[in-house]
Symmetry: D2
Subunit: 336 residues, 4 copies
């Protein structure tokens, strides 16, 4: 018996999840699609042969043909929709972040807890085959106790300054994935954070009060030190690598390229660039996170990425911003 | 308006194509499924919401709701089904080989030509992202005139001797893909062939009259020399690589691994093995070949892999066998 | 006319330089060898057919058959010997560090300046073919303005705690090479430094007041951010890598292995470990730094690694230690 | 007590060996240098502080201060000098080939045997760290019984046609190293050989009666199949790789690059070319072969590359030429 899914929001990421749920995620079927733009909702529904289309989420939540919702609307609606879905007894997959406000996050997470529904947050990179393999190796003891972790996370193109203004800043918008990755790889909570950065790429980003180049150091509770380096613009592609060094060895994941080819000529030996577009780079992870969500509902096991997992990176982003502003270490306890 | 596909045969490869056509190939929909095992056909049809199920191909061919057929039945039926579909005016995708008999191939290809329908043969490896990139580089002049081509093609596990007996032999069963690859990469027809081999892995393969380890040299009409090496058993995985060396450089494709990770410990530095299973290794190629088929029908352009492309590798396999048996170069003209 | 070299100290590094000068450095000949252990000096002199053997450096400095000295004695003698050689008008190659005390460094450097002799400090890693290539690429504008630099520097084995006690600490003893590398690669002076670390490998190192695992962030004057990660024990070998990321691209140097081989079996694909011993890893750099020294004397060009280059990393090490102790950013101006 | 070496011929390779023997080969000293160009001999002797200079080899052979000779003169003198040195009781290192005539080879080898002196032939590639590692892995059983061997051997630049005319042809001049490598790696003698080739690079090479592009297949006595591909011109550098595939795995050696760096920009990811010049590419092998020679004299163990090892590749080259001319397999027994 397939889990019946309702999609909330059919922008870029909503369509992606809908495509995957309709064809690549076993055990799921989409029974309802909702978007304030009902025409967009209908277009997706037609393409995927989905029977129900809604223009408001409350109506979708009232449907008895929906077991779980996938929240892909804008960030400022996430917490409300989690609460709405929870009160209707629907399991919830919600894109990150839950909210930019800890108190709001806490209430939403509590609502899901109280309703006893699954809540999985969309930190898809945990499901990337390479990063998942690294985490499994670390968790399996292959490198011994982790000592040093390195996360390289560089975008191919900076966002428009307009977007930057409302993004919450580089730490909340971009590094948040790396904060989640650090927790995921190390398996120990952050204790304190040091961040620094600058405007090296686009002065408009600086004018918007943000930086485009940053370094973060995380001291975990177990003593592991994670370094993250971020840039909004890597001309050679989307640079996404991790390395975990420990007492018994090292394990790493390199970039993903469209194919494993090479070319040599009089000028040198050449290899493909990393994939540029995040949907190409992380396509398997999006399929796998949705599969994990559906599986956890079917099996009754806990969500793979919990509300707590959704909250901590927000705290880390706040700590990083404060650290950069005040040029000092900021402990997690200071923030929350 | 989607191209309406009928699937003939829902064994392993038929199911794979059906899955892809239902979800990953734009512009296609499956309107009919046929298998002598009607229960299997119905199961697939239910899963993919396909409206028509048939137990015989003639009935499928009579349906006005089918534009094109995908022939995934056993090899000995391919030529008959091509003729049946052609006479019904359906476009045809047929798994390789068309037949093991040149005269039979010629009649089937002629039938498709006369009916003016597309006929695409299932040499999927041409659509592998890595090999397709290499071919595009060569065709684009990046390495200049090709001089030397190298194709490594080693299976992870030998087939059972029972299968070997009916397989047509290593050259017809396994090297046939490499013969196609040589023509695809070089863009010049084979002129003569030298093959040699031995039984190094499984004496039962020798008892069945075949070899399990082989080397083939192809002299192309333009002077390019291709070497192929085959083994039925590479303990480290499915080893599938190509290299084209030419006047201006070299281009190559390495193996595909499940992820791009590494691991270092006191014993050494370790990387993942190539993927073992051909469906994992070549998954993108199966999607892409079907996309190319659907696109060629929609656009009216010629099939990407023609009946002629289906015929020549069979001749090459025959030449290789004769070369090995008689320990001499065999020209293509000798065979056909 | 060869430059006539006198070697001061024939411990491990002195013997290495002597070997290179006698056979692999063009334009040089060794005319004198000095060691407080005259037997050791004589043994090396015999092997390399060097005519003069001294038991004290003053005597060597008086010889008119010596143009330049190579100071390979213990660190606490470096500054005195620089002054002694400078006053005798000899050019000077001195192993790093000049001293652990800035005032002492300044006097020694001033002495060489006043005597108008070359003074080259033994930061050999600048001459490693890989790192030198990276620096040349950066200096040549290949990556545009540097934004982020990453230096991985992990030893294969921790030193004995006895050594740690007198080593000056990890930053002065080990990271000092990385501090030099950061300046060399970026081409902009450090502005402020953040360091943190812990005892993860050997409690005896902690008992000696030091750490064995550390992360350093350097904010350069031009805005570039360098991160360094250090460990005293990488079980897979001597891990020495750099990466420079900039506005127009990225350039990096990976580890050096004894050969470029691979091995695949049923357990995986395997590659060689990095070389473990620093003399194997950096052998070319030792030859090249001595060649650069001899060349600068012959050509009259400035030394490749100056007294100033010898001083700044000492300041950086002091800043790093203070940063770790006080858990804050420390500016270079605070120290000196 | 050092082995006292006499160098015969101080052309490019003679100087190289002399340099290595004077500084990088433990246990050796050069006591005499001989060249018909006495000025050249004297220049090298001065540089390396060698006491004796001769203009003819007979005089050198009469010297009681010489234990072993290194024959680096032109090929047509090798056999005579082996006999001359053998009759004087000197151990012999001789550059390959001994002669282009089997009968002449046989007499020279017999002379050394009868004189009970070491005779080591200059197949230096056996001592390349990568190839030596591959051979050791194979000999140690790491890949099980070898099944398929692949040798890629492509020069960076074709020789002048003048040289080609007197070179003995591509198989005798260039492939001869690969023939030796095949025997070395497999550890089983060749049984029959198939060669083919063409003129793809320089018509002047064709006019000189030779080919510039070739493929060779060797069937070894144990059933292993080796393929060699040769080109006189690889625009990306000196391409020297081997791969041994066997029942239990695969082991390979890739090209040697000047450093292990990379560079990514908007156009792609770039790596260094293989080294172009054979002396750079094989520098370690030249040191190691001379070290092995000196060691075998000191220890009394057999030479690492015997007269027999010098003879067989000449037979293989003859078989390859005949195979190409007559377009058929040629067995080793046919030639000798």
């Amino acid at each position: 018996m397939a889990i019946r899914m309702g999609i909330m929001g059919v922008g870029r990421i909503g369509r992606l999840h809908a495509d995957h749920l309709s064809s690549r995620v076993p055990g799921a079927e989409i029974t309802a699609i909702c978007d304030v733009n009902q025409e967009a909702a209908r277009e997706v529904a037609d393409k995927l042969r989905v029977p129900r289309v809604y223009g408001d989420t409350a109506a979708l939540c009232r449907s008895s043909e929906v077991d779980a919702v996938v929240i892909c609307t804008s960030t400022n609606t996430h917490a409300d929709l989690i609460e709405e879905a929870a009160s209707a007894g629907k399991h919830i997959f919600c894109e990150k972040p839950i909210a930019l406000d800890l108190e709001r996050i806490d209430r939403a997470v509590a609502a899901a807890d109280e309703a006893n529904v699954k809540l999985q947050i969309g930190f898809n990179r945990r499901f990337d085959p390479g990063f998942a393999h690294v985490q499994a190796q670390v968790a399996g003891g292959v490198v011994g106790a982790p000592h040093l972790v390195r996360i390289t996370s560089r975008d191919p193109q900076p966002p428009p300054a307009e977007y930057v203004k409302v993004s919450g800043g580089i730490f909340m918008d971009m590094t948040i994935h790396d904060f989640d990755m650090a927790r995921f790889l190390v398996g120990s909570e952050p204790d304190r954070i040091l961040a620094t950065g600058g405007v090296r790429i686009d002065p408009a980003i600086g004018a918007a009060g943000d930086v485009d180049t940053a370094v973060v150091v995380i001291a975990h509770q177990d003593g592991t030190l994670t370094t993250i380096d971020n840039s909004r613009k890597a001309v050679y592609g989307y640079d996404q690598r991790v390395e975990v060094f420990g007492a018994q060895g090292v394990v790493w994941a390199e970039n993903k390229t469209p194919h494993n080819t090479g070319h040599g000529d009089a000028a040198g030996m050449h290899r493909p660039q990393p994939q540029h577009f995040f949907m190409d780079r992380y396509i398997e992870s999006f399929v796998a996170e949705m599969t994990a969500f559906v599986t956890s509902i079917a099996s009754g096991e806990p969500a793979a990425v919990t509300g707590h997992d959704g909250r901590v990176p927000v705290v880390m982003a706040m700590a990083a911003r404060r650290s950069m502003d005040e040029q000092r270490w900021v402990s997690m306890a200071e923030i929350a």
